[in-house]
Symmetry: C2
DNA sequence: GTGCACCCTGACCTAAGGTCAAGGTCAACC
DNA sequence: GGTTGACCTTGACCTTAGGTCAGGGTGCAC
């Protein structure tokens, strides 16, 4: 007569909501069960079993559209599908664990945005050059931008700069460039520094943050390396330094700065 | 002039799609950046930093609507929010691990639907009574249905049945009931068995799968315990057994079967 | 006989994007 | 200097797995 449980009990048993069960009906995952005299759905044990299987697969992340075929497959295919679902679930778990690690790095500042090797080098240089924490932040953000700009050439560029800093003359120029951040924009020393930097870069073109083999749009990249370090408006001296540097480069060897191939 | 990276590079840097970045704009998570001469968006380092922070939080499962406030909060609140997000992420990881275990149980059959204690008992009884694998399946599905029907009283009911089976007379009746599954529906022994079962149940009402304190709708519950075991249509003898059992109960003590309180 | 919990259908809403269309731009190669 | 292919623009609609609301019918306990 009135055997079978109502949709509410079936849903509670499977740990889903009533709406979810009706949703499964709409998608053909469970056949509509018999109705009682008042039109209520009445679920039997087979329905409940199927409902729990559906819920288990759905909770494991299987899209509803795939669940029907999996449950209707023969035992061998069913077992194989379960193995596959388990693998995908493991992947998702590993993924979430990796994201938790990433979150921890985010809590520690923007260090998450650069490779560990680069961060270590930056720390060493900062200690050597006497950077303030703000300087370190600015340099880090500049590196982030360069990496966004030329992702393919970034690792290579870092290596070249590391080798470049082994040259005490370049190290000294960079040290001076950072001090220039605090100069007045019309400080006469800016001109000298720009020329010296340009001379050095002309002699060592590998120090420009331009991926080898790509010579166009070079000036934009250089702008970034020199001053688009997130604080450029606050350091007017650097804006002028960049202008003079570019002028020197253009005068001496515009094949690099002109924005077209060297040919 | 043309400094800043395009949306494609920004997206690639942060590990999201172009569409996702525009989605974040629409939701106010990142301000629309400056446009260049052709109307292209140009992103600076601050935008990139923010984009990666957003992506990290979103990947950790934080709803987009919550990310803006988190990022705009002061450092203390930001740190607190990160701790909270990390906790929620841990919960999700634990949840997925639990679901993977559940999946493994699903692979092992429907055993996932019943508590381990009940499964162990069922296995013991099956061995004792000489159940075929099909019998075990049928019994298991019957238990699943009872659990769906009266979830609150299920554990208690199992305990009562366990104690009931210590009585050799009841054990013998149940053994006979399972043999009756193979009888013809008009077998005269069914009447005797029904009467004997009813007598025993009248003497031991705790064996009925009815939660203590709830006396109404009892007959539906009894139907379940006796025959709605997923194979009821295939076992016509049980249908008749149930009818005769109910008649005996009604004749002898309809206060239990009548579907209304004993008062 | 009244209240409350439960059931019915159907229409619309949600998050976090994906897809498609129709067109404008940029750098490279011949 | 013309074409090719990759990249950019907006806007409209689609997707998954349900949730919410409206408007109404049932079942049962006091």
């Amino acid at each position: 007569m009135t055997d079978g449980v109502t949709i509410g009990r079936a849903a509670a048993f499977a740990g889903v909501t009533v709406k979810t069960v009706r949703h499964y009906h709409k998608h053909g995952l469970i056949d509509e069960p018999r109705r009682d005299g008042s039109g209520y759905r009445r679920y039997g044990s087979a329905d409940l079993l199927r409902l729990v299987r559906i819920r288990t697969l759905a909770a494991a992340g299987v899209p509803l559209a795939e669940i029907g075929p999996i449950l209707d497959a023969d035992p061998d295919r069913f077992a194989a599908a379960l193995v596959d679902v388990g693998r995908r679930l493991d992947d998702r778990i590993d993924d979430l664990i990796a994201r938790r690690d990433m979150l921890q790095r985010l809590a520690g500042g923007d260090r998450a945005l650069l490779p560990d090797r680069v961060l270590a080098k930056l720390d060493r240089v900062a200690a050597e050059f006497g950077f303030t924490p703000d300087d370190v932040t600015m340099a880090r953000e500049g590196l982030v931008l360069i990496r966004a700009l030329v992702p393919e050439g970034f690792d290579d560029y870092i290596s070249r700069v590391e080798r470049g800093l082994d040259d005490p003359r370049y190290a000294s120029l960079i040290r001076r460039m950072w001090r220039a951040a605090e100069w007045e924009p019309d400080d006469p020393r800016i001109g000298e520094l720009a020329t010296a930097l340009a001379d050095h870069c002309l002699a060592h073109p590998e120090l420009l943050p331009v991926p080898a083999g790509l010579r166009a749009r070079t000036d934009a990249a250089i702008r970034y390396s020199l001053l688009s370090q997130h604080g450029q408006e606050q350091k007017p001296a650097w804006t002028r330094l960049a202008a003079l540097f570019e002028a020197s480069m253009r005068a001496a060897g515009n094949d690099i700065l002109a924005g077209r191939p060297v040919s």
